[in-house]
């Protein structure tokens, strides 16, 4: 799986949670928390959605790696590739 596909997966999950936010204008290098109305409860939901939809597990100590879209893609791409 390519990084662009992983980005789309994460974007879809975020769009489902932050229903009223415009996710099309996300700057990949800026913390998601600073651009969207996402709090720690929502980040837990992102983790749970990754597990539910894609069987990708993110251990608690790695949560900081989901801070920006860029870091999400860097962190998650090998995990998605390992599934294939």
């Amino acid at each position: 799986m390519q990084p662009t596909e992983v980005r789309q997966i994460v974007l879809d999950i975020i769009a489902d949670i932050a229903l009223d936010d415009d996710v099309t204008k996300i700057d990949d290098s800026i913390a998601l928390r600073d651009q969207l109305d996402l709090d720690s409860m929502d980040f837990l939901d992102i983790v749970m959605e990754l597990k539910k939809q894609h069987k990708v597990e993110v251990p608690q100590e790695d949560y900081p790696k989901l801070a920006t879209m860029e870091s999400c893609v860097t962190y998650l791409t090998p995990k998605f590739q390992a599934l294939q």
């Binding site: 229903l19 009223d20 109305d37 409860m41 837990l44 939901d45 749970m48």
Partner: protein
């Protein structure tokens, strides 16, 4: 025998929200409701072709679309509901009406601050400091200790009348304690009423319930109505399931109960003896339907917190209901009026035991007395707020209905018809039984938004993150 990952007792705001969260992450959840409809303490009924709301006067925690970090936004995201689905319209203004002073507030705290500056000029600096204190306080921290709120607020507000006026709406919209409240709950209420404010979902409480029910349907979670839990089953102080009135036993390793803390512990088998006090706060409500709108009568406020006594007594009266104070809710007076008739709801603090003791004919007669009293109360209000307007006549009434603490008990099964639960809260949701979790009013988040957040946060903590207790 049926087996589930979790059982949720009660399809009120907290139970519905908890079941949605569990269902979203593929937990096999069993949602049991004793009544034939959802809502619990915030429900509805039909009489004389009219649909009447109980509980909800207004949705607190008002926010505009796109506002960030607000409890309502948090709730909507957790339940995956778009803001627009609520069709929320903000209040116009509300009024705290005491014998010599009155304060008007809107969903903009600046307005109340100016009212205080005008009516209590020496107190406004203290009020501004109180605002800072409230804004900086982490009221939803589950580890907060009990702190009597009036003691804290007296550091900022020295004028006792102003203090009582500030407390009046906060107490009557959520406090299980008489005359005071826990400071964390004070902050929850202060933020939800004064900093965020009132709104009305189009169609009232049913809009919220329909949204929650729709979500459950999407997730394939069935609400099992007319299912009365008679026993909560345990083994070695660990919950194992529930037994229903029908005799059916349902097993689950995790049970969320919105029945109330004393009510829940009463159902535990083998019985445990736990000294949890039953709440003393219950209410009467008179609902009037007029062909004319409240604005035609000169009433332009959304909610009026009226008190005719020198001091505001937020406590159970010795008589059937407390005559001096009332909350008057005028649901037509939100920015968007979604009702064809004029609706006026008058709520008094009431004494459950006194109502419960009445024989049937006496009960009926006392309801009639309450109606007569409230009709006069309404006209006194019109006279004070709109002296140029004529009094309303009983012949103007298209329909009326009244409910009392015993009505609340009959339809919600909350002991003593108590509306805000036990004065003892269990903020982490814990009980003496492992994996038996309290949600709803006795967990300690207040209001409808609080109730839903309670169901969400307890479901997250114990159902999804697997916190062991």
């Amino acid at each position: 025998m049926r087996e589930f990952d979790a059982i949720v007792i009660g399809a009120g705001m907290s139970g519905l929200a908890a079941a949605i969260r569990l269902g979203m992450y593929e937990k096999k959840v069993c949602l049991l409701e004793k009544h034939t409809i959802t809502g619990g303490l915030n429900s509805y009924y039909s009489r004389g072709k009219r649909r009447l709301d109980v509980g909800l006067h207004a949705l607190t925690n008002y926010m505009e679309k796109g506002e960030r970090g607000k409890p309502l936004a948090k709730l909507l995201k957790q339940l995956r509901l778009p803001y627009d689905s609520l069709e929320l319209s903000p209040q116009k203004q509300s009024r705290i009406l005491f014998p010599e002073k009155e304060l008007v507030f809107t969903n903009d705290i600046e307005f109340l601050t100016e009212e205080i500056a005008k009516n209590f000029p020496t107190q406004v600096d203290g009020f501004l400091k109180l605002l800072t204190k409230v804004r900086e306080f982490d009221e939803v921290n589950l580890d907060n200790e009990f702190l009597p709120a009036k003691d804290v607020v007296r550091h900022f507000i020295q004028d006792e009348m102003l203090l009582e006026m500030i407390f009046c709406p906060l107490l009557i919209y959520g406090s299980a304690l008489e005359d005071d409240m826990d400071f964390s709950q004070f902050v929850i209420m202060f933020k939800s009423l004064y900093l965020e404010g009132f709104g009305r979902p189009e169609g009232g409480v049913r809009r919220i319930l329909n949204l929650l029910e729709g979500k459950l349907k999407e997730l394939g979670v069935e609400i099992e109505f007319k299912k009365s839990v008679t026993e909560i089953l345990t083994q070695n102080n660990i919950v194992t399931g529930v037994k229903l009135e029908s005799g059916e036993v349902i097993h689950a390793p995790l049970v969320f109960s919105s029945m109330g803390l004393p009510e829940t512990l009463n159902k535990v088998f083998p019985a445990i003896h736990h000294q949890t006090p039953i709440g003393r706060m219950s209410f009467t409500e008179t609902l009037y339907f007029f062909s004319q709108k409240p604005a035609d009568m000169g009433l332009n406020d959304t909610i009026i917190f009226a008190n005719q006594a020198p001091q505001y007594a937020y406590r159970r009266p010795d008589s059937l209901f407390q005559k001096e104070s009332a909350v008057i809710c005028l649901p037509n007076n939100f920015t968007h009026d979604d009702q064809s008739e004029g609706v006026i709801r008058l709520t008094h603090i009431a004494n459950y035991d006194a109502w419960k003791a009445l024989e049937k004919t006496e009960y009926k007669a006392q309801k009639e007395n309450l109606h007569n009293y409230d009709f006069d109360y309404l006209n006194q209000l019109i006279q004070r707020l709109a002296p140029a307007k004529n009094a309303v006549q009983k012949t103007d009434l298209a329909f009326k209905d009244l409910f009392t603490p015993t009505t609340v008990e009959r339809y919600t099964w909350h002991l003593g018809g108590c509306v805000y639960g036990s004065p003892e809260k269990t903020r982490r949701g814990l009980t003496p039984i492992k994996n038996l979790i309290i949600i709803g009013t006795d967990q300690g988040f207040l209001g409808i938004v609080g109730a839903m957040l309670s169901g969400i946060s307890m479901a997250n903590l114990y159902g999804l993150q697997g916190e062991t207790v």
